[in-house]
Symmetry: C2
Subunit: 257 residues, 2 copies
């Protein structure tokens, strides 16, 4: 049964899409069967697979019951890394979905009907910078969640809001087993002299919340990779980004043992 991980944080621009892409690619690189799902109307993850951001073959339509998984599934050549694309259409679909029966459990229902968890080792879901219906669907269908954070004041303060939202999902019996896999401290170089960032990174580690040992350092290859619709591993194997995401992937795999 696949481990299902929502990558979420309502703070914008913290590295949700970058983490989903590169954790997914890193897991596939070591032989895992991986499915990525783009639940963000911006469709940035889907752009990294050269998908049209206006495609009507998207996960939103599956949640509405208009399409099946096989209609929208995108496979990559090299590894067992598949994608269920997002679309800008999601903005309107999300509004429609809110009024439907079982609106919060549509993705979970799709997983069950299509036996998706039997077909993969890991399913990763990229969430929008909002705590709306698509993020709810992702979390209700997940076994774990990962919260990327940049060591900045607003980002640090925002963690509480994310956890509160998730507690509500658990309290309302939408998902009893949802567990924080870890906070990723992103764009942080331990040896850089920036006291503010170091202070916030320390606060996060001392908060008692599960936090990955691996920090993801600021690395321009990560930006280049996204622009070139590649994973960091395809962009530059020797980069800090590739090393950090490899180490993070190892942490994730070792958790499951």
């Amino acid at each position: 049964m696949a481990t299902v991980i929502s990558v979420c944080n309502n703070k914008g621009g913290v590295g949700k899409t970058t983490a989903t892409l590169n954790i997914g690619a890193g897991l596939a690189k070591v032989g895992k069967k991986v499915l990525l799902i783009d639940c963000d109307a911006q469709s940035n993850l889907s752009m990294c697979f050269r998908q049209d951001e206006d495609t009507s073959y998207n996960i939103g339509r599956v949640l509405l019951g208009e399409l099946a998984i096989k209609d929208i599934l995108v496979k990559t050549e090299k590894y067992h890394l598949h994608l269920l694309p997002g679309s800008r259409e999601h903005r309107k679909i999300e509004k429609r979905l809110v009024g439907e029966t079982g609106a919060e459990r549509r993705l979970l229902k799709t997983f069950k009907k299509e036996k998706l968890r039997e077909k993969y080792d890991y399913i990763l879901i990229d969430c929008p910078p909002a705590l709306g219906n698509f993020t709810t669907n992702a979390l209700v269908a997940s076994t774990h969640y990962i919260v990327p954070v940049t060591p900045e004041y607003f980002g640090y303060k925002g963690i509480k809001g994310v956890l509160e939202f998730i507690n509500e999902i658990i309290e309302h019996d939408l998902n009893d087993d949802l567990e924080l896999m870890g906070i990723i401290i992103n764009q942080f170089n331990e040896n850089v002299r920036n006291k503010v960032r170091k202070g916030i990174a320390d606060k996060i580690r001392q908060s008692g919340l599960a936090t990955f040992k691996t920090n993801i350092r600021q690395n321009s290859d990560l930006v280049k990779a996204a622009t070139n619709a590649k994973s960091i591993f395809a962009q530059n194997e020797d980069s800090n980004g590739a090393k950090d995401y490899s180490s993070l992937v190892n942490e994730i795999i070792n958790l499951r043992q």
Copy 2:
């Protein structure tokens, strides 16, 4: 009558809050009467005025009709810079508001009832990284909108989605006069050798969309200022951030002449 400006972009982390705070402070510094409104549940703008992010005295409650402007108005000592705070409560308020009559025009109605546009020269509204009901309310009540963008692939691709959303607001006669005041190219240093960023900044300028002449350079003082709940002018008058935002404020003032 105040110029009302929504600062919006569904792409996260591009500098919406930083721009709202520092344009607002810059306008107040040269003697304008300025009102800032925090329409984001994250309440990052309100944190810059040391407001409690869980306050129940927030603009969301005014939109629901439960409070009046005078119940929530925050004034600063030095200049004529006022704030209508946000709150994390906005997440739940937004869900409730969606079902109410005139849900999209509540802020506009409040402006009229409280004659807010007569009391200020500029009203700036910080929007969340989402195109939901609060962003709609902000845009329906605005004369102009500003879109901060960082010169990165995802950010550039996202501009189309924001403009599409705004066209829908205009098409459905929610606001006939809404005008793009300008795109702000944020975190961009003209002389830095980064070809990717330069290439995207050029594309934005060649797109034909109104774009401010002033680029906002990457500047760590801007991050420090937000952490210290200060404007860039109070943090460090001589910083690149202060110079860039002063120059941007001059462009905005000259537009009105």
